[in-house]
Each structure stands twice: as structure tokens, then as C-alpha cells.
Amino acid sequence: MTEYLIRGARPLGGEPVDLRLAGGTITEMGAGLEAGTAEVVEAEGLVLLPGLVDLHTHLREPGREDAETVESGSRAAALGGFTAVHAMANTNPVADTAGVVEQVFHLGRRAGWVDVFPVGAVSIGLEGERLAELGAMADSAARVRVFSDDGKCVADPVLMRRALEYVKALDGVIAQHAQEPRLTEGAQMHEGVVSAQIGLQGWPAVAEEAIIARDVLLAEHVGSRLHVCHLSTAGSVEIVRWAKARGIDVTAEVTPHHLLLTDENARDYDARFKVNPPLRTQADVAAVREGLADGTIDIVATDHAPHPVEDKDCEWAAAAFGMTGLETALSVVQLAMVDSGLMDWADLARVLSTAPARIGRVGDRHGRPIAVGEPANLTLVDPAARRTVDPRTQATASPNTPYLGRELPGAVVATFLRGRATVLGGALVEQGAPQ
């Protein structure tokens, strides 16, 4: 396996240092290291981060290989600076058995670009009626620890209670897609001034907040661990802040797009901006940014949701919900949080690597400190770069990026997965799967 000498990188934006990567780990750190036989990666001015970890990705395989495959999605992940992704369960068939999660796990191993950790469904078929065999998925080769019906809410309070209780035996977590179904029947976009004007059926903030409020109380009652997916409203931030102050074991995520975009983007009926939960108001964007900066929101997760052209190139009401995010997440977080002065690079490493690795129970391998002896899962970012987003140059199989034509700051220069470069010079490093 190639040895690498990374020269002059700034770990978490700090003082420049050289690092040697060999045998899958960081073997040496210091000034003026000798290259020897190692391949040198010049990293002057680049920020070195622990490899990014996405707790919320849709890889679409099995079932919707026209939108994404584990191969294409994990290529996109590597290009985005990720070394691990959690693949959501709403595939076809649903990842509600040990068989399906092991299939996804092995597809991830074969692709080899990132570690793919399957998320297991909470309920059979995401139907919200009976618990799936969570124990079998936890004990499988995929070692599932995160369970979610994402795409659908575990709306039945009794089922949610049982799920929270049950995963205590598995060191698991329920990642809830908070969407009260009755309040959002037919809903198309955030309910407010814009929806009233452009005549799209509203999706009230309370539909998210009511479920989060219920679930933190359930988590407290049964003494379990709750993770709130893609929180999007100012009210949700307040509820999570309250729950944490009360000592409830809750974590929360926000997506890059909810840190940047608003319901104003819907005015032209461009379905690339149609997403679940919907884009909210400027006040909500300010609140989720503040919540992320002060630690109320623990992580940023992409909710990468690829869809083929025909599912977006149509009337808003007919279009699918979701947007891609793996290849733009780091840039959007840099723009919204770092360049705006709300966070530094160490904070960014926390919300995009350390904390998601811990929540997903993969913190023994990912989201590690940058130190000698640690696994060489690393990402090099050029914060001064500027690039214009063009889906044709992305690795994801789907074009539904909301940032089409938009200039974003920052670029991933290199990604290392256990010491192997998956990305160098901003491009994928093709080679046989190492595992």
C-alpha cells in the first residue's frame, strides 16, 4: 500500500504540520519529515480534517439504481470528503431485515470508496405498524446501530415508545423523521407567506415540532437515546435546547440546505428546491445556524437524496422530495458557518465527523483525533478555492442539486480512507477495491 507524506497541512485549521500515513494509520507527525519512498501530497494552505461522516445518506440501492447506486453514491461521498456514510433504510426492498442491511454493507465494502454503514428500518416496510427485527440487524455483519423509518415518521406514539425502549439493549438509537402525517397530507412547501402567495399547500412548522416535543418526552420517560433527523425550524431548535437542558439523551442534525436556502427559493416552482422537510424562512435559517454553533444541534448530515431528471423536471406537485448533498455539504457548511464567523474548523470537524461518528457508534474508527497511531481517515480541504456547481461534473448519478450554477467556497483536495487515497487533486483515485 502506498505511503503518503502530507506536507504542511493545517489540522483543524491550526499550525502547519507534516504527516506520514502508512499501514492505514498516521505513523508520524512533525515538521520537515523526510519523504523517503512515500508519495508527497503538498498541502500548504490546506485544512486537514478527520474524514467526514454522514449520518444520513440515501444511496437508493437496492431498488432505485436509476437514481443512485452504492458505487456512485460512495464515489460522490469520497469526493465530498467523506470516509463514512450511513445509508438510509428506505430502499426497495426496505432495509428491515438482516439480509438487506448485509447486502448494502457488502455493496459498500465492494465499492470501497467509503465505509457504508446501513441504517435499519424501525418498522417492517416503513409501515409504522410492527417493529422490524432490530436485534437481527444489530447482530448482523452490518452491525446496525442507527434505526430510522426516514422518509416516513414513526407517528404512532406506542410504536415509537417500544422502539426507543427496545434499542436500549442494542446500544442503538432511533433517528426520527419528525413529520406529523395528518398535518402534512398533501403538503408541498413551508406554510407561510410564500406558500400563501404561490398557492402551494403548506407544511406547518408545528408538524415537525409536535413530533420532536413528543419524542424527547418519550425518550426521557423510557431513558433511551433519540436522534432528531434534519431539524428545520426555530421552534425545533428551542425544543431540543430545552430537552438537553433537562438532561434528555437527544441529539439533533441539520442539513446543509437548511443552513442556507429558504422558502423564497420555491417562488419559481423549480422542483430542485422541493425537499422534505421543506426549506423554511430566513428566521429559521438564522435559528438553526445559531443552534449548530452553540451545540444544541450536534451534527450536519446531508440527507443526500438523489432523484433522476424526470422526477424533478415537472410540475412542483408531481416532483419528488429531496436534493443531492454529498459533494456540496462541506462547501455549504464552510459558507454558512465558517466563513460567516459562527464556527471555526475544529467546530466543523466536530459537527461533520466526530459527533456523527459517535452518534452512529462508529467512533472507534471514524471521527478520531488527528494524532499518531490513529486511523488515517482524513480529508484535505482548500478553503480558498471557489467552484461553480455543475451536476455534470459530479459523481452522483442524479442531477438534482439545488446549487446548480452557484459558486461555493472550498474544495476537497484529498480524502484518505485508512491511509488509502480515495481522492487526490480533487479527483477520484481509481484502483481495485482494497478490501
Binding site: 402567495q197 404561490i198 398557492g199 399547500q201 406547518p204 416552482y269 423536471d313 415537472c314 410540475e315 406537485a317
Partner: protein, 321 residues
């Protein structure tokens, strides 16, 4: 602009020009031969994804009076019902050389998509999209208001100083949205009257007043009362449970003989049709000499002639927003 997509997109000048043009065209419609040669050789497609015989006939009549060739494309029973996308339908119409596409669609924003996608070159006229806009309805309503209430020889005039009450299901109404925008642009004061369940969250940003009480608004002596159609199925829990019962709706928001009698002597009663007699409007109100509901239909043809004329007759296309 090359299209008519929303009433909000019309300036005062644009709107007055359309109303004036409609008045000129209406003056020709008393003749024995009503047909004008203006749009001879042009093709107008009525692309209707939703059933609306009234609106479709109105546009068809308008186009034919201007000598355009008219193609009616009803989505039901066509390739659309077999799953053809809006894009492919648009590309088909483009290939056939449509000069204008009049589109009625159940999805808000579909006309906008058609006009901005680059799929076709034709002028797009929004004939009602979802719960968004129905600009020609607002124009014909403004035309009717101006004819009755803006005094003699209304050419060039707007609706400054008039007070119009719009009563009913605002939440689901593209007619209400379009009228609020256009009547405000033309200087009228608009009051929406609706039960709170049938008002959209966000209505506070609209350029109008809002009331939950019809009798209080009628006491203000509005110059016109526009009753909106209320669908009976909205009363059931399956339809959203917006209102307890049709009877309670009529009692609180229906225009009946008693309420009709409280209106100022010059006030007119309007309805975009089709009416639910006995629900939002009683037979006495609908058939009274205050009602201009049938005239609205006639004015609809004149206004739609004006829109097609301004969009398609050479040289003046860009005059219209």
C-alpha cells in the same frame, strides 16, 4: 413579457390597456358578423388538464372571434392520462406550431414551468393553476367592476376608491388571489371575508384587509360583493373538515335576501361561477338585478380576446406583462 401568468405580474398600465382593449373589442361584438380577422392563421391551443367547460369555451370563443385556429387538448382521454409528462406534451405542441397555449392545470406553477422551461416558444396564458392564479378571471372581474362603478366612459380609468368584498373559500381560490393582486394594483380596496379555516396562513402579507364576519363588512357599504364558490366536499372530514356543515356556512357567510337588502343601492353582486345556489349565494341574490354574474361571462370573452390580441398581434406583444 411574452406571457400572462399572474395578475400580480401586471402593472397598472398593463391592466388598464387590457381593459381598454377589451372595451374596444366588446364594441365590435354587437355587430351581426362578430368575427374579426386579426389572428387569422395563428393557432391557439387550449391545454386543459382540469375539466372546465366554461373557461375553455370562453377562451375558444375569444380565439375564434379573432379568427385564430383553435385546438382543444383535454388531458383526460389523451396521452396525458397514460402518464405523458408536461414536458412531452409541451414539446408536442411546439412541434405542431402552437402560437399560444392556454393552460388550465391542477398543479400550481404549471403555466410558469411551461413558460420558463424552454420547451416551447408559444405565448402561455394561465387559465387557472391549482390554488395559485387565474389572471383572466381577475381581468374580467375588473372589467365588470369598471363598467358598472367607474362612471361613464371608463376608458383609461382604474378602480381607485372602490371597495370590494371577496367572500368565501380563499384558501383554495386562485380567483381570490388573482383579484386581490389586480384590484389592489388598480387602486381598489379589497376585504377578504372568510372563516379562519379557509384563509391561508400568510394571508397577512397580502395587500388587502381580512375579516371573519360578513355582516360587519356589509355594514361598511362595499361597492361590490364577490362570492366565491365553496365546494361541499370541504365540509366533510375527508375533505379537510374546514367547516361544520353547509347550513352553518350559509348562515354565516352566504349572501341571502336579508344581506342583499343591506347593500348600498349602487352595489353589484359578482360570482365567478359555477354557483352553488343555496350555499354561498341564495337564489334571490343570484337572480336579483344587483347580480352581474351573467354579464361577467360575456365580459370574459372580451377580456380574453384582448389578452390573445395583445399577446399575438404583431408588435404589441411586449406591451403586455
Amino acid at each position: 413579457m411574452d406571457h400572462l401568468l399572474t395578475a400580480a405580474g401586471l402593472s397598472r398600465g398593463d391592466a388598464v390597456r387590457i381593459l381598454d382593449t377589451a372595451a374596444e373589442l366588446a364594441a365590435t361584438q354587437g355587430r351581426e358578423i362578430k368575427k374579426l380577422p386579426t389572428l387569422r392563421g395563428r393557432t391557439v391551443v387550449n391545454l386543459f388538464f382540469e375539466d372546465s367547460t366554461r373557461t375553455r369555451i370562453s377562451f375558444e370563443t375569444a380565439a375564434k372571434r379573432l379568427s385564430a385556429d383553435v385546438i382543444n387538448f383535454a388531458a383526460k382521454g389523451s396521452s396525458v392520462s397514460k402518464g405523458e409528462s408536461l414536458k412531452d406534451t409541451a414539446l408536442t405542441l411546439q412541434a405542431m406550431g402552437a402560437d399560444a397555449v392556454v393552460i388550465r392545470h391542477h398543479a400550481s406553477g404549471a403555466p410558469h414551468l411551461l413558460a420558463s422551461s424552454g420547451w416551447l416558444q408559444a405565448a402561455v396564458v394561465n387559465a387557472g393553476d391549482g390554488t395559485h392564479q387565474h389572471p383572466t378571471q381577475a381581468l374580467l372581474d375588473a372589467y365588470t367592476l369598471r363598467r358598472h362603478l367607474a362612471g361613464p366612459g371608463p376608458i383609461g380609468q382604474d378602480l381607485a376608491g372602490l371597495h370590494v368584498a371577496i367572500v368565501g373559500d380563499v384558501l383554495h381560490s386562485r380567483v381570490a388571489r388573482s383579484n386581490v393582486d389586480l384590484l389592489h394594483t388598480l387602486g381598489a380596496r379589497v376585504t377578504l371575508v372568510s372563516p379562519p379555516t379557509l384563509l391561508p396562513v400568510g394571508v397577512e402579507a397580502w395587500p388587502c384587509e381580512v375579516s371573519y364576519h360578513l355582516d360587519e363588512v356589509l355594514d361598511q357599504g362595499p361597492d361590490a360583493v364577490m362570492m366565491l364558490r365553496v365546494q361541499r366536499e370541504r365540509m366533510s372530514s375527508a375533505g379537510g373538515g374546514f367547516f361544520p356543515s353547509p347550513l352553518e356556512y350559509s348562515r354565516r357567510y352566504g349572501l341571502d335576501a336579508r344581506r342583499l337588502a343591506t347593500l348600498p343601492s349602487h352595489a353589484i353582486v359578482m360570482h365567478p361561477g359555477p354557483m352553488n345556489r343555496g350555499l354561498e349565494i341564495s337564489a334571490e341574490a343570484a337572480d336579483s338585478d344587483r347580480a352581474v354574474i351573467v354579464e361577467q361571462v360575456a365580459n370574459g370573452v372580451a377580456v380574453r380576446m384582448a389578452v390573445l390580441y395583445l399577446l399575438l398581434a404583431g408588435g404589441r406583444r411586449e406591451d403586455l406583462a
